[in-house]
């Protein structure tokens, strides 16, 4: 019974798990680059959710075919394209911050930075 639910909705369970992993990376890790990787994983989990939601079982990719077919919903894909670009730009901004922090403090360890900025 429980297994049935798990197997029917495994996409969703995995996206939640992925989210928690990302969240752990963001909050639990002291290294700033690790935090950013965690952040990206966190964002990917949401993209995964969107694409899973768009998927129709037995559907085909939203490319126009000669014969009628069940297409998956293309709109979330478009949204995710935008979101991926946003995610990458966030990552870029974050990394440039990280580089400047390193130049300023000489370390990427959060605790040490807090100590140094006292």
């Amino acid at each position: 019974m429980v297994l049935d639910i798990i197997f029917a909705k495994y996409n969703y369970i995995i996206y939640i798990t992925l989210m928690t992993i990302g969240f752990y990376g963001m909050i639990g890790k002291r290294n700033l680059i690790k935090k950013l990787i965690g952040m990206s994983i966190f964002q990917y989990s949401i993209f995964l959710f969107y694409v899973s939601a768009a998927d129709v079982s037995g559907g085909t990719a939203p490319i126009l075919l000669k014969e009628p077919a069940v297409y998956v919903n293309p709109l979330p894909h478009v949204l995710i394209l935008t979101a991926i670009v946003v995610a990458v730009s966030t990552l870029a901004v974050g990394l440039s911050l990280v580089i400047r922090i390193y130049k300023e403090f000489g370390t990427l360890d959060e605790d040490k930075i807090i100590e140094l900025s006292r």
Binding site: F7, F47, P74, V88, Y102
Partner: protein
Amino acid sequence: MIFSVDLVLLLLILVLAVASIMVKDLLESTVLFACFSFLMAVIWVEMNSVDVAFTEAAVGAGVSTILLVAAIACTRRYEEER
């Protein structure tokens, strides 16, 4: 009960995500993250969103990795021990 391909892929993704966060070597972690992105792209192909998969492979796996590697090159490679 049929184990579909994407379940396997998804589990693999979970493993990669955990690994890329846990590894001490940042470069290693970056590579694992690139794998993660790439597998994500594969999953999206499997889920019929080809366009997203393209973007993901290019931007996510490609550009992000380059950015990360560049950042690591500018800073330091290993996480500091306490």
